[in-house]
């Protein structure tokens, strides 16, 4: 039994934690928020220099050729520090899509540029206020040209390439577009967490390249979503733990009625419940990490479980962190709202909690027996 990260992976996580602390921790997210930026470009350049954008990219394309577990430990630290960078868009989605479904020409062109930071990629799924399904997609491709509008596209302000699911004559395609093409119009969209930027992206006869086989796009994007769900869950666990740590520190220093508020059971039990939620989420993340790294057929169930559990944990920890801080927690000055807002963005970005609970149960329905621990 070895449900743990290796010493090298733990070392990498420790390095990542030190890196984000040294670079200013939460101040970066706050700076992006206060100055209405698209992301923290300086922090991003340093991440590129550390080689993290190429973790999963094979060495033949100038990457580090490492596995998903290395991404998991970095994800947890990105989440802990609320790093305002396009890592998830470019690495979890765009890079993975190219590694798994790109042809040789696409890979040899773009993968080295993702390593060097010359290219940042993103992804487009949502089109309207309702949940995207294979049958309600309206962005469509005809003779390689895409028309339509994707919304809530993260990081389109800094990305130059994008993958997206579109309706095609054989069903759904996963396609690659160059966002610098004149046919593309990118408009910022206001959102709840301004430490991250989202955009409306309009395509008018935009040239595109097919990834993988035509007609299989929906299956591909589901797989990419499952993979990303595990990595986002690690970010959520990192954020949950940071919010719990912040609540704990405050409960030790704040006095009321002549004692530390952390000595009241009302606060202790609240923090204990946060700890329970984070622990369950973390263990479900380890299961997800195992399924992801071993390319297990259990990935859809493991991903949904990690996702639901981590979404619950981050939402609980971030809202109860505000509560523990009392009035201070409701001010812009205190960092509590950074976690609260990021937890909401992460909870809907891949589809809502209800959507993932439905995926979880759909996968449970398919299993006949469950191994009991």
């Amino acid at each position: 039994m070895n449900l743990d990260f290796s010493d090298d992976q733990k070392f990498l996580q420790d390095e990542a934690k030190k890196f984000f602390d040294k670079e200013g921790g939460l101040t970066n997210a706050r700076a992006v928020m206060d100055n209405a930026l698209d992301s923290d470009n300086e922090l991003w350049q340093k991440i590129v220099e550390l080689g993290w954008t190429g973790i999963r990219i094979p060495e033949e394309y100038e990457g580090l050729g490492l596995g998903h577990l290395e991404l998991c430990v970095i994800a947890e630290e990105l989440g802990r520090s609320l790093a305002p960078v396009p890592f998830s868009s470019s690495v979890y989605f765009f890079t993975e899509a190219l590694i798994k479904f790109g042809n040789e020409e696409i890979k040899s062109d773009l993968l080295p540029k993702l390593v060097s930071g010359e290219v940042v990629g993103t992804y487009g799924i949502a089109e309207d206020t309702h949940q995207a399904t294979e049958s309600n997609l309206s962005v469509a491709v005809t003779s390689e040209k895409i028309n339509g509008v994707k919304i809530a596209v993260p990081d389109a302000g800094v990305a130059s390439q994008m993958i997206l699911v579109v309706k095609s004559k054989s069903g759904t395609d996963l396609r690659l577009v160059d966002l610098n093409d004149v046919s593309v119009t990118i408009t910022p969209q206001k959102n709840l967490d301004t430490s991250r930027a989202f955009f409306k992206v309009e395509f008018k006869d935009t040239p595109s390249k097919l990834l993988g086989e035509s007609g299989k796009g929906w299956t591909y994007i589901q797989h990419l979503l499952d993979q990303a769900a595990v990595l986002f869950a690690f970010e959520q666990v990192g954020g949950s733990q940071a919010a719990l740590d912040m609540a704990k520190a405050y409960s030790m220093e704040r006095f009321a009625f002549g004692r530390q508020i952390g000595s009241y059971q009302a606060i202790k039990h609240k923090l204990a419940d946060m700890y329970i939620a984070v622990t369950l989420a973390k263990s479900n993340c380890y299961y997800g990490a195992w399924a992801l790294s071993s390319e297990s057929a259990e990935l859809p169930l493991a991903a949904a479980t990690a996702r639901v559990s981590a979404t619950k944990a981050f939402q609980l920890c971030s809202k109860e962190n505000i509560q523990t801080h009392g009035g201070n927690g409701f001010t812009w000055e205190y960092d509590c709202h950074l976690f609260y807002k990021r937890s909401k963005i992460l909870s809907v970005l891949l589809g809502s909690e209800a959507t993932w609970k439905e995926k979880l149960v759909t996968n449970l329905e398919k299993t006949n027996t469950l191994a009991k621990g």
Binding site: M1, L69, L244, Q265, K268, Y275, L280, N284, Y287, K357
Partner: protein, 410 residues
């Protein structure tokens, strides 16, 4: 990451398995338990099984070699436990003795006493129980009030213990009592072991909310009416009772597992079952939401346990993550029991004439006890907050005053 044994662990597992296959029968399915018609039958079978394990060296794996154990590592105990659980064998009788009483005797008893008591305990010839809780001392067990008064070479014990598992069939017990009410709460306690057949001891099974009393490893009240215990049966110094009790409870913590009974698997099977109209509950959105929540909890606990085992497997001290186990599993059990009963709609309340209480009904009836036994939900949240997160202790109204002056009434 993988779920495999190391070569040494695989070898140990094979050794366990090989012996079990020769000496016991595999369970038909993993939920079928060992049942005997009467308590006497159960004890007989359990003692015979313990004797068999003792002769082959499987009875007390973690004990030091000088007392007949093999000093098994925690991971080896887990492997043995996993393998033994697959076989139809009796359990629930010797855990308190081997897990708590044995180690405390090894630490505090005389050489003669160890020679006299440890082997029969390990062999299953003598059963031991633990006499700590009292009617007025549950979560606050150090507030116990049973008295010990010195009389020559003996102590005279008066008072009452409660929630004593197995007292009705135990031969010996370990006991904490108050020898001095004039000093602070934790300072006036002394620890003994006692012959449960001593004159003046009365054991009364407790009728629980399940309606059961004196069945299996059930709970008891134990009354002490001028019971004489020789001073030679004192464990530790006079006034060190709390320290000795804490050592004992640390040993207990290793043994506390998760709540057994209906889990997500049974809830899922029930949900998939079609009713007379051909409908299955799993098609109902509110049921789906509950299944998702329970699966996240059950799976989270499963992999929490795997994380602990992984640490032990590498010879590392596990993190504090296992502290969430009972609180999550007992509450989940209560919810799933409730769901199972509700699924029968109006018939859900009825108890089957032939089969008796269903597993869901049993879970619902038993879960309130599990949320209390071995640390209430509230105490466990305090433990997580204080020992895991490091928050300050509650201010205590009984601190620094003589036990006799501690308020007990409004």
């Amino acid at each position: 990451m993988d779920f495999n044994d190391t070569p040494e662990q695989a070898k140990f597992r094979a050794k366990c398995r090989e012996w079990l296959e020769v000496n016991a029968e595999l369970k038909e399915n993993k939920n079928s338990g060992h049942t005997d018609s009467t308590l006497e039958d159960h004890l007989k079978v359990a003692k015979a099984w313990q004797q068999k394990k003792y002769e082959a060296g499987w009875a007390m794996l973690h004990w030091p070699k000088e007392y007949g154990g093999i000093e098994a590592s925690p991971i080896e105990r887990i492997i043995w436990g996993q393998e033994e659980a697959k076989f139809n064998v009796p359990g629930g009788i010797f855990e308190i003795g081997l897990g708590m009483c044995g180690p405390v005797m090894m630490q505090y008893a005389t050489e003669e006493q160890k020679d006299r008591y440890l082997a029969p305990m390990a062999e299953g010839k003598e059963i031991w129980c633990q006499l700590f809780s009292e009617p007025a001392a549950g979560s606050d067990v150090a507030g116990l009030r049973s008295k010990a008064e010195r009389d020559g070479d003996d102590w005279i014990i008066n008072g009452q213990k409660v929630w004593t598992s197995g007292a009705h069939y135990s031969d010996f017990g370990i006991l904490v009592v108050r020898h001095d009410p004039n000093v602070a709460k934790h300072k006036g306690l002394t620890f003994f072991f006692v012959d449960m057949k001593s004159p003046g001891i009365t054991v009364k099974p407790i009728k629980q909310i399940t309606g059961q009393a004196g069945t299996g490893a059930g709970f008891n009240e134990v009354y002490f009416d001028n019971v004489r215990i020789p001073d030679s049966q004192r464990l530790g110094e006079i006034g060190d009772g709390w320290k000795v009790a804490i050592t004992t409870l640390m040993n207990e913590r290793l043994a506390v597992g998760d709540a057994r009974g209906s889990d997500i698997e049974e809830a899922l099977i029930l949900s998939k079952t079609k009713d007379d109209a051909g409908e299955a509950m799993i098609k109902n959105d509110s049921v789906r939401e509950k299944l998702a929540d329970w699966f996240c909890e059950a799976n989270g606990l499963k992999y929490t346990k795997f994380r602990t085992i992984s640490a032990l497997s590498k010879g590392e001290a596990p993190g504090p993550e296992a502290s969430i186990t009972k609180i999550v599993s007992a509450n989940k059990l209560q919810e799933i029991g409730n769901f199972g009963i509700d699924s029968g709609d109006m018939a859900g309340m009825l108890i089957d004439e032939n089969d008796g209480v269903s597993s869901f009904q049993g879970a619902w009836l038993g879960a309130p006890g599990l949320r209390i036994a071995g640390g209430t939900d509230e105490i466990l949240r305090n433990v997580i907050a204080e020992r895991v997160l490091g928050l300050p202790q509650d201010p205590r109204a009984d601190k620094g005053i003589a036990f006799k002056d501690i308020p007990t009434k409004a």
